[in-house]
Each structure stands twice: as C-alpha cells, then as structure tokens.
Subunit: 327 residues, 2 copies
C-alpha cells in the first residue's frame, strides 16, 4: 500500500488534474515528490482526447524516461465506484469517460483512478495531519466544500463512489440557492465563494478597504482580496471570515455527531489558517452533542498543501506496481 518503488521496478507517478492545471510527479515510498511536470488543462470545450494528451505528456515528462511501475490519477470530478471512469466533471470534457483503460493502453502500466478530494485525504492519512488516526474527516475548502471519510487510513468511497459530498448537506431550510439546483447547502455558507459573497454583502453597509481594492465594484472582490484585507485589520473582511468559520464549525459538528472521528483535517485554508479554524473550533464546541461527556476531536489544518492530490493518487498504486485494493 506504499507508493514508490526501487530502480528495477520503475517509478510511481501521481497526477492531479483540476480545472486549470495538470500536475504530475514521481512520488517515493515515503510520500516525497522527487520530480514534477505541469500542463495547462485544455478546458471543457475541447475533445476528451486532448485532455488525455496533456495527462500523458505530464506523466512522461515527470518520469524522465524511467520505467513506469504504475500511475495514480486524482481527478476533479465524480469517479465511479470501480475506479474506472470519470462520470462527470464540472471543468473537464468527460462524461463516463473510461479514463483508466484509455491511460493503461497509452502508458502500458497499471493506472488507478480516484477523485481529487479522496486522494488528498489519503495523502493526509498516510503522510499528513491524519497520520495514525483510526478515524478522521477531511473537509476541503475551495470554491465549494469537498471531503472524505477516513477509516484506518482508507477512504470510504460509498456505494456510488460519492461519499464525502459534505458541501451539499443542507444546513438552512430554504436557504441560499446552490449551483447544484437545491438550496441551503453548507458550501453556500462556508467556502471560498461564501467568503466573497459575505464580504460583498457586508461592504454595502460598512466602510471597508475592499471598496478601494475593488475600485468600488463589489463584484470584483476576490478571495485573496478578502484575505489581504483581513490581515490588514479590515472589519468587513474579518466579519466574513468569522461567519464562514462559524459555519465551518456548525457543519463539522453535524458530521462529528454522525461519525465521531478522532481528528478533523481542514484542507484548502493555508492562507487563512486560524482565521477560519478559531471560529470553527468555537462553534464546533457550541454545536456538538455530548460536549462534557466526550472528547471533542481536534480541528487542524491539512499539512501537505497543493501536492496532496498528487501524493494521494500515487498511494493508489501498490509498492510493486500492481493494483492494490483501493487504499
């Protein structure tokens, strides 16, 4: 179940394909990335084979001519429970694409496939903040909320391969409308998008450096702007972080009530850190059932950063290059 292999057996490559970039790297048995290669993701208006071309190029460049023992792929999309197909992906031209078999034919080595949130969680379980935990939750903040349930270091994939869709748990009946077509989803209150939305709404009523930063156009406010403004002490930006952090704790409390994990790892918050995690810890303590009769799980930031998906993809490949049972 460890990635990497000796010189004879060839190298294990992990590759992470998101909406904007393809990142491939050779990952050794200790989870260290020894060489990488990047491509720009061709986008969703191209034919699927162009995306596969970009994947194959990045993989081969990162391997630098060495024999491929196996390749793990982390895809920003829904992967079927067998790990063979990308069923759909919001930023990629795949709909039921049999990506695993296509890449095996082109690369001549075993290819394993999982979604990016599961891969990042697997990497944190083996080499990061969830190391050694019998049970953990990974909650990844981005445009929305992704996540995974980790049990003894294994990712729970679910009957459809769709476990971990935490962002679409309803937290407010009849609440903010969501891109998924429903309303009141958690990620409408706690995510990068929610942060920007909250800041825009607050700056309409209160003075804020965000008004200058956006040239008076609230619709030009971005996540990094809110982070910069909060660091500068701006009250609107800080209030937006406090709200997103508070909701992070509320949703986490629901998951902890259901699953009682040892640790909760929050990904995607490197720039914000404790500005989100402190209010989240407070609201977790306030909202969780049985506080006083139980240990409240640690709420910690992920440790591996943007390489987590790539490292976790490589972990799909057994040390001998053969397919492992999904780790």
């Amino acid at each position: 179940m460890t990635a990497g292999a000796g010189a004879d057996a060839g190298v294990v490559v992990g590759v992470d394909i998101g909406g904007t970039k393809v990142l491939a790297g050779v990952v050794d048995a200790g989870g260290r990335v020894t060489s990488t290669a990047r491509r720009t993701t061709p986008g969703r208006r191209v034919v699927a084979s162009q995306v596969e071309d970009a994947l194959v190029e990045a993989i081969l460049e990162s391997a630098g001519g060495r024999h491929l023992a196996g390749v793990g792929v982390a895809a920003a999309g829904f992967v079927d429970s067998a790990g063979e197909r990308v069923m759909f992906a919001p930023h990629l031209p795949w709909q039921g694409e049999p990506l695993r078999d296509l890449l095996e034919d082109r690369l001549g080595c075993p290819v394993l496939l999982d979604n990016d949130a599961n891969c990042a969680a697997r990497a944190e379980a083996h080499h990061g903040a969830a190391r050694g935990a019998a049970s953990a939750l990974m909650i990844t903040m981005g445009t929305g909320i992704g996540g995974a349930v980790l049990l003894d270091g294994h990712v729970l994939r679910g009957a459809n391969g769709m476990a971990g869709e935490f962002g679409h748990m309803q937290v407010v009946p009849g609440g903010r409308s969501c891109e998924c077509g429903r309303s009141g989803c958690w990620e409408q209150y706690s995510s990068g998008n929610a942060l920007v939305r909250d800041a825009r709404a607050l700056m309409a009523d209160q003075p804020s450096v965000l008004t200058d930063m956006s040239d008076g156009h609230p619709d030009r406010v971005t996540g990094p702007m809110v982070t910069t403004a909060a660091e500068a002490g701006d009250l609107v930006a800080r209030a937006a972080f406090a709200s997103v952090g508070d909701w992070l704790g509320v949703g986490t409390a629901n998951l902890v009530a259901a699953l009682d994990p040892e640790v909760v790892v929050i990904g995607g918050v490197s720039a914000a850190g404790d500005r989100l995690l402190d209010p989240a810890r407070t609201s977790l303590q306030r909202t969780l059932v049985g506080v006083g009769h139980r240990a409240v799980p640690r709420l910690v930031a992920a440790e591996l950063g943007p390489e987590a998906g790539m490292v976790g993809a490589a972990l799909l490949v057994g040390g001998d290059g053969t397919r492992t049972a999904a780790p």
Copy 2:
C-alpha cells in the same frame, strides 16, 4: 462472529435494557430467539446494583439452567469505546458504571456491551433489512432519533463510541429547542415526540378527531393516538406524519451525501410504515445531491422489530463463547 453455540458450549444470551423493561433471550447462530425472559427496569432512582439484579435474573431465567457461553448487553445509554462502561443513560442510574466487569463477576462468563441502537443495527445487518449490504445506515425513530453506520456489517463505533448520534445534527439554525441544550436538532422535527408536537400545534387551528380523543386537551395527545387518527383519515394527524416523514428524508439526504450507503434502514416505524417512509422517499429524492448521476439508496423499514436489540447484543459474542472483535 455468529451468535449461538451447541449444547456442549452452552447458550448465548442477548439482553436489551431500556428505560422501562429488560428483555433477555437465548439467541441461536441463525439469529433466532429460542426463549426469553422479562423484567421491569427498576428506574433511575434506585441504586445501580438493583438494575444489575434485574439483568442477572432475566439472563438466568432465559437460559433456564443451561451453561452460559457468553452474554451480550444492549444498553439504552452511552457506552465507552472499549465496551466496558455505561457512561451515562437518561433512564438508568449508571454514570461510568463498569457494567461489563460487574456482570462477568456475577455470571462467570464473557460479557460484551454496546448501546442499543448499535445492537439493533448489527442485528439488521446480519439477519434483517441491511443483510448483504456493503454499507448501510440505520436510523431509529423513537422518542428521538438514534442510529448507526454499518460498513460490511460492522457498526462504526467512533473515537468515543458515540458515532451515530444522528438525532442531534442541526437541521434548522436557531430552531426548536432540544433536550440536549442546543436547538434545531433533527429529532425535534422527525421523531415520535415531533409527531405529537406537530399534531398538537395543528389541532389548535383545524378540526381533528384528536380533539375528541384527548377530551379537548392537546397535551394528552399521544403518538399511538396520532397513528390511530391518521389511519382513520384525520387530516391533522396525516399532516403531522407528512411533516415528520418529510424531515426524515431531509436529514437522511444529508447523511447519504456524506456516506453514500447502499441502503437506509428505518427502525421504530412498524406502526406507521409507509405513512412516514413515502414522504421521506420523496424528500430524499428532492434534497439529495447528484440525483440523476447516482443510485439513490433504498429507504426501507427495519425487519426485526422489538427483538432487534437483544439479537444484536447476542451477535457481540463469538460462536465459541469468547470475546470477538466488536462485530
């Protein structure tokens, strides 16, 4: 991991202790109950040893003089993750009681301990509605909502032994206050108590047979009355069932988004059946993320009825009478 044993090895007894009664029974390897004994639960104002007396009496009576290979206990309370102690129980005089060791001393055989919702879920996994499912949720409707997560037939116990506290997931921010001290908990909208509360509120504004049934005192309305009224076509009672069922589906959708189980088993609804499950299926379909791209899990009634806790307790005991890893 199977309960029961041959004549030489002795019998396996499962015992379920709730707020009102103690039910013990000999359970064979096929999950069949071959003899039972009951006692009234002494209540929470007695000394703990009186409750233990009632347990021991019921266990010995059900065994009828046969050798005890092992005893499994399902307790209506929080059991520590080691399965040794009842940490607290709303209707019993236990606070950190080392029940397992106390009973082993008195009975002279291995004793295994888990909470009642976990035991009922284990029974459904081995002999009931979750049989054969790689992953399942058990949601038990009673005064509140209890539950369990089942993976390959094993109950997920959690870091504190508190996984499955579904009833205290917050579904309405600032909503109805809950006995747990917080507000907006799921069980305030979907449970036996919620059914009665909804019916009482609705009968204030609409004619209902419940007014006669309760002699004009809404506070005398009970759950069985609402069930009877709904069967008779009463619109208030039917609206209360529709609301509780709708909320059952909403909360279930949140759990399914997180865990993606193959099947969801609803316990405690034998009298109500499809009057709750039909609206729950509708709202699950409406609220669940990815409908159209996934299989929606089956939502089915539990099969084992009031003996589930006893049968699941017996399953804690290995076929040879020794302790098993918690199944």
